[in-house]
C-alpha cells in the first residue's frame, strides 16, 4: 500500500452526442494514488469537474472487476490500456508516474458509434448473438446432464472460448474493425460441444453473415484482437471458425435437397 500520491494529465475525447463532432480536452488530475484503478482516477476527475460546474466525462463501466465487459477505453492507443489480459477497469494507476500525459479515446469503429464522450453503442454484438449464438433448448426439455459426456479437453477448450466478455476490444484493436474474434469465440464455444452440433453449420453461416451485414471489416490475420483481448481469447478460434465456415459452405451446398424444398 503506497501513500504517496502524484498528478497526471488526461487528454480525453469529448463528444456531446452521437454523430456530433468531438475533440480532445486536457485535464489535470491530482491526488492520484498508485492503488487506484484507472476508472477510480476518472471518478476523481469527474467529481472535480462536477464541483467546478463542468459536465463529467461519460465513460461506460459497471462491475469494475473485469467480467461484465462494459468498460471500453482506448488508453494511449491500446484498448483497455497498457496491460496484457485485463479490462480497462483492471488497469491500476501504479502503471503511471508523476507528470504522465494519458490519452483516452473511445473504441472507434463504424459499427460502434459514439453515444457520448467515451461511451459507444455496441448493440451490434447483441444482434450477432441473436443471429445464431445459441443452442435451441426449450426450458424443461433438457435431458439428464450427465447423459452426454463431454471430454474434459473439449469442455476446457469450449470454456476458453466462452470466457469472452463481449467488450469489443477485438474490434477496437483491429485496423479493419473486424469482429472475427468475438464471433469466433461464440461459434467455437457452441460448436465444440456435442450439444451445439445440430445447429453448427447454420450458426456459423448466420453469425458470419450478420457480422458482415453490420459493417464489421474482415480479418487480415494480424492478431491485434487476441493481443488486446482482456480474456486473452486465442485467435486459434478464428482459424477454427474459418475452417468451420468453409465446411459449412460446402456441406450445405451439397446436402441432398429435402423433400418438398424448391416446390
Amino acid at each position: 500500500m503506497s501513500t504517496t500520491t502524484f498528478s497526471v494529465t488526461v487528454r480525453v475525447w469529448r463528444q456531446p452526442g452521437p454523430g456530433q463532432p468531438g475533440r480532445f480536452v486536457e485535464y489535470p488530475v491530482g491526488g492520484v494514488n498508485p492503488d487506484m484503478s484507472f476508472l477510480e482516477m476518472l471518478d476523481v476527475l469527474n467529481d472535480g469537474l462536477t464541483r467546478s460546474g463542468d459536465e463529467p466525462v461519460a465513460f461506460a463501466h459497471d462491475c469494475r472487476e473485469g467480467i461484465c465487459g462494459t468498460c471500453s477505453l482506448v488508453i494511449d492507443g491500446k484498448p483497455h490500456g497498457p496491460h496484457h489480459g485485463v479490462a480497462s477497469c483492471q488497469t491500476y494507476m501504479r502503471s503511471y508516474k508523476e507528470g504522465d500525459v494519458i490519452v483516452v479515446e473511445p473504441f472507434r469503429a463504424r459499427p460502434f458509434p459514439v453515444i457520448k464522450d467515451l461511451v459507444t453503442d455496441r448493440s451490434a454484438f447483441d444482434r450477432i448473438q441473436q443471429a445464431g449464438g445459441f443452442i435451441s433448448a426449450r426450458t424443461g426439455s433438457a435431458p439428464e446432464a450427465n447423459s452426454v459426456p463431454v471430454p474434459k479437453e473439449v469442455a476446457d477448450l469450449a470454456m476458453d472460448a466462452a470466457q469472452c466478455i463481449g467488450c469489443g476490444a477485438c474490434v477496437a484493436a483491429c485496423k479493419n474493425s473486424s469482429a472475427m474474434l468475438f464471433v469466433a469465440a461464440k461459434v467455437s464455444h457452441l460448436g465444440l460441444l456435442p450439444q451445439g452440433q445440430p445447429e453448427r453449420d447454420k450458426r456459423v453461416l448466420a453469425m458470419v453473415s450478420t457480422m458482415d451485414g453490420l459493417g464489421f471489416g474482415s480479418c487480415t490475420n494480424q492478431y491485434e484482437c487476441s493481443a488486446a483481448c482482456p480474456k486473452l481469447i486465442s485467435h486459434d478460434f478464428i482459424a477454427r471458425m474459418n475452417r468451420d465456415y468453409a465446411k459449412a459452405v460446402f456441406r450445405s451446398a451439397f446436402r441432398p435437397v429435402a423433400a418438398g424444398a424448391g416446390d
Binding site: 471518478d43 469494475r64 483492471q90 447483441d126 426450458t139 435431458p143
Partner: protein, 640 residues
Amino acid sequence: MAKLESRTPAGDLPGKWRRHKAEIRLVNPANKRKYEIIVVGAGLAGASAAASLAELGYKVSTFVFHDSPRRAHSIAAQGGINAAKNYQNDGDSVHRLFYDTLKGGDYRSREANVHRLAEVSVDIIDQCVAQGVPFAREYGGLLDNRSFGGAQVSRTFYARGQTGQQLLLGAYSALSKAVASGGITLNTHSEMLDLVVVDGHAKGIIVRDLVTGQISRHAADAVILATGGYGNVFNLSTYARGSNATAIWRAYKRGACFANPCYTQIHPTCIPVTGDYQSKLTLMSESLRNDGRIWVPKRKEDRLKPPATIAESDRDYYLERIYPSFGNLCPRDVASRAAKRVCDEGRGVGASGLGVYLDFADAIGRVGEAGVRERYGNLFDIYREITNENAYRDPMRIFPAVHYTMGGLWVDYNLMSNLPGLFVLGEANFSDHGANRLGASALMQGLADGYFVIPYTVGDYLATQKPGSRPKVDAAEFKQAEEGVALMTSHLLTIGGKEPVSHFHKRLGHILWQYCGMARNREGLSKALKEIPALRSEFWANVKVPGSGLALNQSLENAGRVADFLELGELLCRDALAREESCGGHFREEHQYPDGECKRDDDNFGHVAAWEYAGEGREPVRNVEPLNYETVKMSVRNYK
C-alpha cells in the same frame, strides 16, 4: 395493512410443489400470445424468465438499464451453482440441500419455497448443460463438483471461476434466440423509474431511455421485476457500480411490501479497502476456502510482521479452532463475524488492521503451485492485479465486504408480491435464503425462479385476467406516474448544489457500514436513523447534477439511484432495530451467546417482517408473516 398470504400449498413438504403445479390455473396456448409481460432486468432470473415465458408463447418485453442484457451483475458470480445431483455419491439429496439451505438461512425462510428450490436445482443443471454451459468436467467427460461453505457434501457445479458468467451467457443466449424469433422485445439502456398500479394491480412501468432521456409508458398484463439486490446502499460492496434498488424501491412506494431489508450478507473473502477513492470491493470466491486456510497472528504485536516470519505455533487458524467440523468452510455470516472479532481484538493484518490471511501454503505443498493455479489461477491473477502481490508466495489478505441482500420485495409461493400482477424474482425478492445465503445458492435461486417457477405461476395470475383487458398507456395512472418521474428528473437537475452524487453515496455507505454492518446495536441504529434523514435532506438541498435530462447523463442516473438508497438505508436500519434478535447476516450485539454466536428469538421473531410504505414522511408499517415450520424444527445453528 397489506394482506400477506403466502399461499403455501397444504400437504406434505416434498409433494407441495408437484401438487401445486397440478392444481394452479393454466392459460391455453392460443391465449398466451394475447398476454403481454414486462420483465425488468436480464440477469439470471430475468433472462431465464423472459426466455422461458417467450417460449411458452407470451409476448414479453424486456427492459435493462445496461447496454446489453449480458452485462447484468450475475455475470460476476465466481464460484458455482448448487444442485442436489449427488453425482459424488457422498450422500446428497434434495432433502439435504433443502435442509442445508434452510439451516444456512438461520431458519428465517419459508420451508416450502426452499424445498422447491432444492427440487428444481437438478433441472437447472440439465437445462444449462443443454444450452451449452461449459461446466467443469472430469476426464471421463462427466460433470465435476466442488465443495462450498455450509455443506458437508460436494454439490457445487462450476465453470472455472466464472460460473455466473457462463450461466448468464446461457440464459442470455436463450433470450437472444427469443429476441430473434420475435418472442421478446428487447429494450436496452432503459431504466424503470416507476411501477404503474391500476385498480390495485401492477399493470405497467415508466421507463427512461438513458441515451435519449425520453420517458415512456409501457402497459402489460403482468410485471416481473428481476432487478437484483440493494447492497450498493453501502456504497462499497462487491456489486457492480450500476446495481441499484430503484425498480424495487419505486415498487415499494407503490404498495409492494419490502421484506427483511436488514438481512444483508457480508462476504468473508474480499480484497480489503485501500483508500477513500475506492469505488468497488472485489470478491475472492468462497471456493478459495476449500484449499486456503484462514489465520491471524496469535499476538497483536505480530500483526505487521511479514507473514512468513510468523511461526506456525504463533498463528491462530481461528475458524478451524472455533468450528472444527466445518472449519474454513463454515457459512459466510459466521466466517465474516469471526474475522471482525479477531480484527476487533487488534490482530487484523495489513496497514489498516482490517484484514486476515488466506493462506495457500499447505495447498501448494499438497498439490503443487500448478495444481492451485489450475483451480484458482484466475482468482490469483485478479488478486495480483489489484494488490500487486503474489498470493502463491505470500498469503492473500482478505476482509469481509457487502455481497448480497437476502431481503427484498415480499412474494408469496407463486413469487407474486402483495400487489397482484407484480412478480419478483431472484435477489430482488426475499424468498429463499432467510437471514443468510449459502455460497453457490444465488445462481441456483435466480435460475430456479426464472426457468422453473415463474413459467408455471404467472399463468395462475393471468388466468384471472381477461385477455386484452390490460389498461391502455393513456390511462390516468400512467399519466400520473410519468409526470412524477419527469418531475423528479427535472428536480434533480435544478437543485444546483455543490457536491457530486458520489459524495452523498459515500457518506451513506459510511453510516450504514458503521452502524448497520457486520454487527449492529440499538444505540448505533438509532444514531443511523437520525443521520440518514439528515443526509437525505442535505442531498436534496446540496446535490449537483450537471447536464441535461435529454441525453446520456450518468450523474442524473446515479442521483436517482442514490436518492432511493437514502430512503432504503433508513428502512434497512429501521428493520434492523425492530428485529430484536440475531440471525444469519443480522447480528445484534445485544443478542448473542457468550461465545459470540447469533442468539435467535424464534418465539418473537420467527417471522418475516414485510414493510409497507405509508406515504411521504410517515413511518412505514411493519407487517408480519409468521414462518410455520411443519417439517424441520428450528434449532440453534451449529457448525462446530
